[in-house]
């Protein structure tokens, strides 16, 4: 079959010209390749063009690499070795898309909860805003009772008596060997009476109106 000269502006010729490089490198799909092949069979201009492009491709394949892989690898290996361990990021485990969408919201909610907890925890101490150095004495606690222990009462007896009554020593001993006490909120209304009956206790008296009886 004799090839014809196609008018340069026909759609078929233009399409074949456009796809010719990939017809030559054989990466067109079957439909495109057969369409271009049909056109080339009939078009003298495209036959010449295909031959030129095949020649170009032959030149391309003759162009060998001039690099030295061993030398280049050694250079890169030393660059990797010089990097800090953190330079290679930890691999990211592939996560589903929904996780990526919800991640910022989850983090924000967690941050809000943590902030609330911090405010609750530090809120009490923050209310007392007086500055205290490490060596400063603790804040003064007002005593609401005074107690006298027997001179032979042991430390253990004193501790047991105070625990049983729900009281703490906040001052003393005074010159009369009396101890200033503070009954805590859980002591109950009969705290004084319970302390009076404890072994080693001589006397217990209320100092303020809020002290237990």
């Amino acid at each position: 079959m004799k090839a014809r000269i196609f008018p340069i502006d026909t759609a078929e010729h233009r399409a074949a010209q456009e796809l010719m490089p990939w017809f030559v490198n054989r990466t067109l799909d079957a439909d495109e390749a057969s369409s271009v092949a049909r056109h080339i069979a009939e078009c003298a201009r495209c036959q010449k063009d295909a031959a030129e492009q095949n020649a170009l491709r032959a030149v391309a394949f003759a162009a060998e690499s001039g690099g030295d892989v061993d030398r280049d690898w050694a250079v890169l290996r030393s660059r990797i070795g010089a990097m800090p361990p953190s330079a290679k990021p930890a691999p990211e485990i592939s996560k589903p898309r929904w996780w990526k969408q919800w991640l910022p919201i989850t983090v924000a909610v967690q941050a809000a909860i943590m902030l609330s907890l911090v405010l609750v925890l530090v809120g009490g101490p923050l209310r007392d805003q007086r500055y205290r150095a490490l060596g400063s004495p603790p804040a003064a606690v007002e005593p609401n009772a005074v107690a006298v222990f027997r001179s032979d009462a042991t430390n253990q007896q004193m501790r047991d008596a105070l625990h049983a009554a729900g009281a703490s020593i906040v001052g003393g001993p005074t010159v009369t060997n009396a101890y200033l006490l503070r009954f805590n909120a859980t002591a109950g209304p009969d705290g004084l009476a319970r302390l009076r009956v404890q072994p080693g206790v001589v006397s217990v008296e209320a100092l303020q109106g809020d002290a237990p009886r």
Binding site: V59, A63, V69
Partner: protein, 200 residues
Amino acid sequence: MLRRFGSGKKASTSFRRSAEEGDVALLSRVVAGDLQAFEALYRIYHPRLDRFLSLMTARRTVVEEALNDTMLVVWRRSETYNRQSKVSTWIFAIAYRTALKALRGVDDSVEPGMADELASEESGPEQQLIADQTRSAVLSALKALSPEQRSVLVLTYFHDLPYAEIARIVDCPVDTVKTRVFHGRRRLRALLQDDAGDRP
């Protein structure tokens, strides 16, 4: 170097598929910090990247640096490969961007001997002379094109890539690739005709 002259398209497709599976397996190990897997990947891609970057940048020192910069990105950012494209497409896209960056830092002149180095191949003395002259002319003409035109021609004729894959590498629409190649080869033909006219 892989040559596919005379091989069937089916065999070629099958080879490409298994090569791609091998690349994905290696890259998965690279993500986990496996240096041996990375070296294997490096040795597979070195000749292809060397050829691509040689034709893109035309300077030996720039080629070596750009090649290792490309593979360093592969090592450090391997976890960003998302399997939306082939491993080779992903690596060549990195190489393309690295080459463009390198080209901004050097003048466009071809390093002496670079075209000859790329053109060398064994054959008879007379044929060798003609072949060398042709190759040298083609390679020099390529250097006269813009980096954008040069890259698509190199990826088409020197790397046998389909147009869709080239579009992903250079990050532009398929029609732009087709247009660049069309105008690029017309310019190349004109340059080669001028060169032939200048020869004694």
